[in-house]
Every structure is written in structure tokens, then in C-alpha cells.
Homo-oligomer: 402 residues x 2
């Protein structure tokens, strides 16, 4: 955080423009030794035309061996060290459904579960009830009122829902009451610090009432409270880095993370990369910094679909001239982590990074991908360094010390 | 600082010799995509002959994106983490004019300014009075005496001068009284901690007397006090690293930084690189470690003179046999930051590093420059690692742990 303080002090607003284009899960793996990664297999003439005029490198999102979730991945991308600031699961889940969290909110990711007559858990996911059954029970739970706190309950998917408590003096240092086992009852709800006592008492009352109400609705006749957390209160991105900052994303979670750090979230109906880029074009004069998020590179990775990932990357490249025509001073292209189709999951592999700017130390031109980036002029960096480097390349950082 | 403690414990004095040759602002940029940097454009047969027998790498001086001033650049080169120890502007300015600071001194960088009859600042630089006008007023200010403290006033250039207070119990946690605006008076001088109260009181008295004396000398009829600071009190280089250590530099500031960390500063009349190297030769038996500083690579960078930078690098290379003939156990060639002619300023780009030593992991021979170094056996390091690496290559560091 000290480093952020220095970066804030060095930062100047010189009117230059930066685009951070994030292809979710961009980093990949070859299916066979000697083969290309997804990015290397993709036909990307526009990105390739930038490589000779850009600084290239590979970047560890959190630390070597760490496979980041979307929260830490984006915290790091936005310049916050994900080893220092971790967004809780409840907050992430609330952001994932687009719930507008405030700093006074405690967010909880909750699961419907099944308990027997003795209160012992028999199914931690209540038979994976369909989403409409979830919504019906959420409607019931909305009856619960507790003095001194505003309560929101929102359905998510199948057996999952979000609970939000809004009020003053609500700490969130409270462990899950999910025992992660069946055949035993839920754990008692207990605060781990004095600042969370009030929250714990409210949750105990809420949970008791919820159990009474849900008794009539088997198999989802109880629930488990997890990831009890608050906005960690990061310094606000637009103020720290002195840029009017906007997010263009399709999925609610990424809008939520951007909102959490204080970016404006541009509302739009875009779905394809080209449509998202047009949104940037329409708002070009209003902001200095644009975070543009492409989701599908990640989703296809999780599904193990190599060719579909290649295809999404190609659609991004085809649309890239829309951004290039805006002549940003700095264009960063990277991902928030790797999601190799080969592994069907987020992975720890470093992510390729390109910083296209006149002030870049130009390297060798070639096919944009992991192999070229691994010998780039940026070397191996960490994701938390990407924003400082983007600012530097935009001539937005003064000197450190005399 | 913890790491320094370990390095100190591991260090042994085995009589080996290390030269740290610093070409100020060495790192550069190609003017055009695909072109060479300044170092790559320079004809450097002697340096090139070492590359195959040396460990090469690229180094971030402070952190990715940080463009260091000369102070942090040299602190890092000398093995002190510049994110932990920052030298104040007053101390640097005093060192820049060769003022021999002691640990008891508070150094202040002061500007003559112009105030109107109400004491409001009308020109923060007093119309940039010529240096001889500055010297005349400094002579007047030297009359001021305050009991319990020794006071030094020294002219610098145009409207700038240095004020030094010497005495016991003088803290320096006092903000500038420069409001950075015109149309308002100077800010009150106030200590930010109890240890600086005495200094603040002395400065208030000094400043009041200075204003009375300067009233007769418009346009420089007042002054602003900035960068109030002390020697940060680093552990002394010769003791930490167990080497008799000397500095050979032409410019006062670099002599000052070396003196600040406890190196001997060799007095000489050398100006060219060859002459500086001869000074090293003359004192070869007296020291284990030589810091040799070449300034002009930086000055020409700031002026945007690519070809002149190339030429200075070539004169260093031509003279290099003088150092090579001394057969140092380790020769490090690097810079304190990048100053690409293309940008006309200190920049954040990593700096090439060569550690020529028998114990180096040899890499590919070739033209010494950013491209070769980016694929070198050292990888991407930080400047604070250079001294530990030099010691290691000189077999001056034992094992860490059993």
C-alpha cells in the first residue's frame, strides 16, 4: 500500500488516454509439446502488428504457483496487491448478481441445505433445487425483519443466494457456519472480534427465523452462511491514479469489481467485443482510462474448448481497429489469469502482457503470444505492476525522489 | 533492511576487488521500432568482449514504472532499498554543491522569491535572478546568527540556495513553507513531530530575520524553505559490506551520495572517463571497492542527444582497458536509471547490467546492450540486488543458513 501512496504522489493528469483490454483467462497452454497455445493458434494480425511497437512481457497475477480467482485477478490488474487486499466471497457473489454494495454492507454467500429432524445436515446443497425454487424461498426469507438493520435477500442460481445486511457498526470477521460435512448440525455463529459482535447477533436471529420459515419448504429447509465479508475499502482508483476511469464489461461481476474500486460503470447493451469497443468509442471523450472486459475467453477455457477460445480471441482481434482508431496513448492487452482449455480451470501460469505505446522499449516484432512475450523487454513482472507501467508509458508518472 | 543485516553477516573480506562502473542514465530506447538503443548503437568492442564471460541481465532501479531521481538510483546501486530510504531534497541539493554534511545537519533547499507589501508572493522564483545576484544576497543572509546552532548559507544557481543548520537535537520533519502558489503568503513553519520543534523555532527566527534583511534587495526580497531534511542515517557501506570503499566521480552530487554512505571520496582533477579510470589505477591498492561514476551519458539524454550519448559510451569503452588491466575480480557495468534521448528525461525502463567475473554463469556472447541483456543469465533483477550479486561473484558472501 506504501507503493500506491508513492504512485499517487508521482501521478499527474496530463490528459493522455489508456485502454486496459482484459481477455479473461487469456493465458493458455499447448495441447501437445511443441504446439501453440490458444493465443498462439489464433489469427491475430492486428495484435501482431503492434508487437514491434510495444513492450511485451509475462506476468504473475498473484505469485508463482497461485491460481487466482476473478477477484484477486482484477484487484491485481487494477493495481492493488492481491496478497494485501482480498475480496470476500460474499462480496464477490453480491457483485456477481449486480447488487450495488455500499461500504456499510456485510455480504454473505448462502446455500440452501437439507436438515433432518435433529437439525443435522443431510445435504449441503438441498438436492440442487432449481433456480425458481430458490427464488420462491428467497421471497419467504424477505419477510424477516430485525430492528436496526436493513436486510436484502437475492436469489443466485440453484441452491445459492445472497444475504446482505446494511447498517452502522457491522464488522464481518465471522467464520462460515457451514461445517463442510453432513450428519452434523450447522456451526454456531460467532464473531472473531468485538467489531463483529453486532453482526453475529443479527445473523443468529436471522438464521433462527429463517429456519422456522423454511421448515415448511423441504428439501431446502435450512441454510448455511458463508464468505461473510465487506468491501475491503481500497483507496479509490480514479483518485489514486488521477484518471477519470470507466469500465465496459458484459458480466455483472466485473462491473461490480470496477464499481468497488470507484470506476464509473458504463451501462450498455453490447455483447460482442466489437459492440463493447463501440461503447468505448461513444464515451471516449468522457474518460482517461477504460477497463474493457471480454468474458468468453475464460468460459470456453473452463469448458475445455480450445478451438472456441481461439475463435473468441480472433473476434477480439478483428474488432481491435475500433480501439486503435481512437489512438489511445497506451493500449494494454492482457488477461486476469490463465484458463488453459487443457486444464479446464483457472491456472497459475503467467499471462502474456502487451503495452503498446510510443515510450515502450520496442522489442522483436512477431506473433503475439506466450513465447514472444517470454522474451519481451518487460521481462517477467507481476500484475500489480501493470497499472504503474501503463501510467509510466502514458507519461503520467513523475520522478521518484530527487 | 533485514536483508542488509543478513548480507552483513554473510560477508567476508577475502581481499578481492570489485569495480562498479556506473554510466549515469545508461538505459536507452530505440528511436524507431526495430532500431538500436544508444548503447546498442555504440561501438563497444571491449564491453562486447566481456559479454560471453559475464552474467547479463536487466534491472528495475526502484520498481516497475518508477522513474528514479539520482538519489534513489544511487541508493539502490549501493544496496539500500530506495523504497525504504529516501534522501530529502535539501540533503541532495547540499550534496550537489559539495557541502560536507554531517549527521547533525538539517539541510534546506531554499528559493529566493518576490513578495508584495502585504507579504503575498508575486513570483516564486524572484524573476530568476542571475547567480551572482543570488551570491550577493547569500552574503547578506550569512549575518544571521541564532544561539545554539551553527548556520551555513550557500548559493546554488539563479534563485536557489542551500541553508544548513548544524546542532544537537534538530529533527527535520517540517513541511515546506512554499505554498506552490502566488497571491498568498508563505505558509507558517510548523514541526510535524516533537523532535523537530527546535528546528522549526530556529527556522521561524531565521526566516523572520531573513525577510527583514532581504527587504532592501528586491526582486529577491524574501525566500521559501523546501525539502527540509537530514542524512537518513543508512548503515555505512564499508562496514556493512566489509570492503574498503572509494568513489571516483566528477560531479559533486555523486561524491556527496557516496560520502553519505561512508565511502572515501578520492579527490582528483579527472574529467574524461580515461582520466577517471587512471585515478582508480593510482589508488588500486588502497581499496577493495571502487564506485566509478560517468555523468555525461545522462546529461546528453536529458538534452535529447542520441548521437552524443552514443559517443560518450564509446569513450568509456575506449578507456576500459585501463580498468581491465587492473584485473578486478568483479567488474559491474550498469546505470543508475535510464535516460533515453527519445524521452529527454529519466525513465522507468529497466537498465542493462553486466557482471564480469570468473564465477558468472556465462551466457551468449554478443553486443552489450538491452536486447542481449534481456535474455541474460541474471534475468530481470532489481538494482538493490546488484551489490549482493557483485559480492557473491567476488566470493565475498558465505552461506545463508546451514
Amino acid at each position: 500500500m506504501d507503493k500506491l501512496k508513492w504512485i499517487h504522489e508521482m501521478a499527474v493528469d496530463n490528459g493522455s488516454k489508456i485502454i486496459l483490454l482484459v481477455l479473461d483467462g487469456l493465458g493458455g497452454l499447448p495441447l501437445e509439446p511443441g504446439g501453440p497455445t490458444e493465443l498462439e493458434a489464433a489469427r491475430t494480425p492486428h495484435m501482431d502488428s503492434l508487437t514491434g511497437r510495444a513492450a511485451l512481457g509475462m506476468s504473475d497475477v498473484v505469485a508463482p504457483g497461485f491460481s487466482p480467482g476473478s477477484g484477486p485477478g482484477h484487484m491485481a490488474l487494477f493495481g492493488y496487491d492481491p496478497l494485501e487486499v482480498l475480496i470476500g466471497r460474499g462480496v464477490l457473489e453480491a457483485m456477481g448478481i449486480g447488487f450495488p454494495l455500499t461500504p456499510n454492507d456485510v455480504a454473505i454467500r448462502a446455500n440452501f441445505c437439507t436438515v433432518d429432524a435433529d437439525g443435522n445436515i443431510t445435504d449441503r446443497r438441498a438436492g440442487r433445487i432449481p433456480t425458481e425454487e430458490c427464488a420462491k424461498r428467497v421471497e419467504v426469507l424477505r419477510q424477516i425483519q430485525i430492528p436496526g438493520v436493513e436486510i436484502f435477500v437475492e436469489p443466485v442460481k440453484e441452491y445459492r443466494f445472497v444475504l446482505v445486511l446494511r447498517g452502522d457498526g457491522l464488522g464481518a470477521n465471522i467464520p462460515d457456519n457451514d461445517p463442510q460435512l453432513t450428519g452434523v448440525p450447522a456451526l454456531p455463529i460467532r464473531a472473531d472480534d468485538a467489531a463483529s459482535e453486532k453482526t453475529a447477533e443479527i445473523l443468529r436471529q436471522w438464521w433462527a427465523q429463517a429456519n422456522r420459515l423454511l421448515a415448511d419448504y423441504p428439501p431446502a429447509n435450512s441454510c448455511l452462511l458463508r464468505g461473510i465479508s465487506k468491501d475491503p475499502g481500497m483507496p479509490r482508483f480514479p483518485e489514486v491514479f488521477k484518471m477519470r476511469s470507466a469500465a465496459v464489461a458484459v458480466y455483472p461481476m466485473y462491473k461490480g469489481v470496477a464499481r468497488l474500486v470507484g470506476m464509473d460503470v458504463i451501462e450498455h447493451h453490447a455483447e460482442t467485443p466489437a459492440e463493447e469497443f463501440q461503447v468505448v468509442r461513444q464515451h471516449w471523450d468522457e474518460y482517461d482510462f477504460f477497463f474493457v472486459h471480454i468474458k468468453k475467453t475464460d468460459s470456453y477455457g473452463e469448458d475445455g474448448k480450445f478451438d472456441e477460445r481461439v475463435h473468441v480471441i480472433e473476434t477480439v482481434d478483428e474488432a481491435l481497429p475500433i480501439l486503435l482508431d481512437l489512438k489511445p496513448d497506451v493500449l494494454v492487452i492482457t488477461g486476469d489469469h490463465s484458463t488453459p482449455a487443457k486444464l479446464k480451470r483457472h491456472s497459475w501460469h503467467p499471462v502474456p502482457v502487451m503495452i503498446a505505446a510510443d515510450a515502450a522499449r520496442f522489442g522483436k516484432a512477431g506473433k503475439f503470444g506466450e513465447t514472444l512475450c517470454a522474451s519481451g523487454s518487460l521481462g517477467f513482472i507481476r500484475h500489480v505492476d501493470i497499472i504503474p507501467l501503463a501510467l509510466a508509458h502514458a507519461m503520467r508518472l513523475g520522478k521518484y525522489g530527487a
